[in-house]
Point group: C3
Chain length 394, copies 3
Amino acid sequence: MLEGVRLVDHHCHGVVRGPLDRAAFELLATESDRPAPPGCTTLDSQLGFAIRRWCAPLLGLAPHAPAEDYLARRDQLGPAEVNRRLLGAAGVATFLVDTGFRAGDLLTPAELGAAAGASAAEVVRLEAVAERVAEGGVSADGFAAAYADALATATTDAVAVKSVLAYRHGLDIAPEPPTASQVRTAAGRWLRRAEAALPPGPRDGSPGDGSPGDGSPGARGLRLDDPVLLRHVLWAGVQRGLPVQIHTGFGDPDLDLARADPALLTGFLRAVADRDVAIMLLHCYPFHRQAGYLAQVFPHVYLDVGLALNHVGARAPAVLAESLELAPFHQVLYSSDAFGLPELHLLGAALFREALAEVLDGWVAAGRWSGADARRVADMVGAGNAARVYRLGD
Amino acid sequence: MLEGVRLVDHHCHGVVRGPLDRAAFELLATESDRPAPPGCTTLDSQLGFAIRRWCAPLLGLAPHAPAEDYLARRDQLGPAEVNRRLLGAAGVATFLVDTGFRAGDLLTPAELGAAAGASAAEVVRLEAVAERVAEGGVSADGFAAAYADALATATTDAVAVKSVLAYRHGLDIAPEPPTASQVRTAAGRWLRRAEAALPPGPRDGSPGDGSPGDGSPGARGLRLDDPVLLRHVLWAGVQRGLPVQIHTGFGDPDLDLARADPALLTGFLRAVADRDVAIMLLHCYPFHRQAGYLAQVFPHVYLDVGLALNHVGARAPAVLAESLELAPFHQVLYSSDAFGLPELHLLGAALFREALAEVLDGWVAAGRWSGADARRVADMVGAGNAARVYRLGD
Amino acid sequence: MLEGVRLVDHHCHGVVRGPLDRAAFELLATESDRPAPPGCTTLDSQLGFAIRRWCAPLLGLAPHAPAEDYLARRDQLGPAEVNRRLLGAAGVATFLVDTGFRAGDLLTPAELGAAAGASAAEVVRLEAVAERVAEGGVSADGFAAAYADALATATTDAVAVKSVLAYRHGLDIAPEPPTASQVRTAAGRWLRRAEAALPPGPRDGSPGDGSPGDGSPGARGLRLDDPVLLRHVLWAGVQRGLPVQIHTGFGDPDLDLARADPALLTGFLRAVADRDVAIMLLHCYPFHRQAGYLAQVFPHVYLDVGLALNHVGARAPAVLAESLELAPFHQVLYSSDAFGLPELHLLGAALFREALAEVLDGWVAAGRWSGADARRVADMVGAGNAARVYRLGD
């Protein structure tokens, strides 16, 4: 199952260029923005154990080598070699890379692809484009047109756009686009507030200070969190015509999990049903069953359980199996949502392959599925669906 | 386990009388009202794979025969023979049939029973009775009395009533019944709106144009969606004294899944706790654990995971096991929620039997349950609880 | 796994002193406050089956002995001997005992410890302290100071405080503490309402009349259910500096399950993140995945799936495994939430040990975890984390 298949990772980020000390490594191995309690380590987690199991052998250590040994060996090899080994072993044919968060610290999509022996394409974050427009200077009246222009330019070569509405407001939004006048008023309010705040600092933080989910410039700059503008840029993304990725489910502590249930998007999904645009529900946990329902009733809705598989480690088969209940198999995709650590790219792929094989083999062994169907579905979920939706062969 | 037991299907619908082309068959095999994306098929789903596994052999094909072969063989045999084979193999003693949706296209309860060699009784949909009252002509002042009369007449031989509140509004309702004056005002508003709409067309659509969940006449007629009237007919159902079935959890795209969580009914369940009426939470997925809690704390509350077992196919044991966590075993029932396709009647029963046997055998093998308890619970859930609650032997 | 480990039960209650008739026993074996439907028994449940499996042998009967035989044998041995056998077999080193509900019917912490050969410490219920302050007579102006004094006194020897906000209002609260003036107004309103009610009767009911979750004096006295005061006592608990236990997830029928999702506490958890106080999310089911997310992103947040393991019985491994997905392993604890029946203390421990062993052994066997990690995590979750957070060795 999936043995000869090179995956399409339909949502990930770059990896850090330079060396990482233990504290920085630990913060990239959790969705938290705080260290573990005193005397504890974020690596005492499913993700930490999975790193030691899968990645240690790729660095020449025994599986489950102690974290100390692993980090020492990592330092010894250096970032370029570690990146090369782990990225290469992921067996990914194409990375679709969200460049909207801390891009300066990370390998570019082209560099990521080169390190992995893979191709790469860009996913453009809708909110980051708005923040760049505001930083460049724009009036409230001119915001909508300037945003449309900037989005067109930014997405010339992109394969998708992405929304972080879940982090900035919650998915409980009015389903229809705001009116031009509402956008103007909201832009005025937001731009005035931004001017009154501190001048923006450098756009990217140091490697250890955050996690990839949100990617806002935070207190240092213009963070797009106005609900009217968030809806506006989401609808601008729909009008652009590329697949629209929407973060749903868990992530870093900026979000309110109860407001990240993709079922809250039902009205929006109905509103865009006839626009021939694919909506990609990213990650979804612990609401992946809700996402599966949405995929069944709306043929333009897709889902993955990336991010979750990495963080649940040994439980990946259980979570993946839950994502294969209501969703039609042509609407489920693979992603890693890896950020910063090449370990997360490797693990995403390794856990996905192992989990999918375990789940499908079980169904075949019990006579519930045919082997041919299982292989066909594995290919679809691992690569084929993404190639079709993102037109990767075109 | 359950080998000699003939089931009671406490909530299902009739099956289509005539032949079905592939498009119509596909739409009856999903909760969506839209076809799969271009180049894809709704049969690439757990339900599609389960049909090919379980039903193909009953039509004389190998398990997992290709969908094309299956549909060709189905056509060759003709609807009457297909219905006879699949319904008969379900091993159901009694069907409780919701007749409130597209009844004209479907076998009647008596015909369904005859085709299956089983008995059948009727479940009356509360909203459909209101729509018939309105279509017959009624004033706002006369609505409540006319509804009570019509419900009494419609349920003379019925074993239960059913609410589709989840589809028409959501389960987040005020728990108490509306006052007479509120009902009058709401009826006036609804009847005026209905008169202003187009004259109703034929009450039933063509076989392929919908799914069973909602059963509204839609844009063509009087759709009861006023929240006050929905509460009124629900309480009228309570006053009627029969078990009240309430759709909860996933269904067709008319509903908002986040508003279909049965836990939203808590206030209502408290309000009817002393009225000696059983409330049957239908289907519940993915909120079946919430439903299990409600069943534990409220002895008048029952649940099933029908519909879900069909749609999750190979995952039926996992979902069924989750429904057997908090719920007392005398409050869990079997249903298929089959609509249109006899395949869904067969699958409901086959997946339920297989899943229950797998789950209970596992607990017995691990020493967690005794074999005698397992057999007793299987009989209760498969038939005994329904016979008791619906007084089927009386 | 865990074989030589004596557990810390970080949240439980005392057990009943005297004999119990069947009706009283049945009501202590369910979260309901009503008997099972006629002809049915609350012991036809996962909990009932687990009692017969695990406890019958400790009373000298075969596993799965009929409920009648079990209850007869229980009567024959008498409460003291049954308590001694079942509590002793739990293998608990330390009980942290919530004394805020029906304490007069139950063994005190010291008596509980003595019967089990264990140590015991007290958990003080924040709302019960407020109700005692009000019963003792206090003005609206004096309430806040009197409460602070009473809490300091009540917690002199306590290891934790506990909130039943989920039962009295729901977890959907404003995150910040109320102002002094808001507290004064709310106290005046609550105290006037309480005076207008009937004079309080005896504080504790008869053994069979309730379940432990709420512990309110109910209609007979002062029930703290004012949302402002509930927030006030919660923040007073935070200021006290001990770990703050918060009931979340299912419980008795006083609560609204949809408002008991710990994710609703996100704002509050953010607001207390820098106060060096541990927040213990109790029980959590069916929202234990949400709780796991909160534990990952907030290092001051802990969780258990006590109460749930008892009630899901044979499903304990599945539920426990779900609680070990996102949560760091140093933030997961053991509790039984046992109340009234020593069976619940025994079962909590037995099901936890068996479930954890099954889950971790499976991961080790599959090569996902090392054996050494599994043993280390078992010790942490079973005892070490609680010892650290509650400073039990100090």
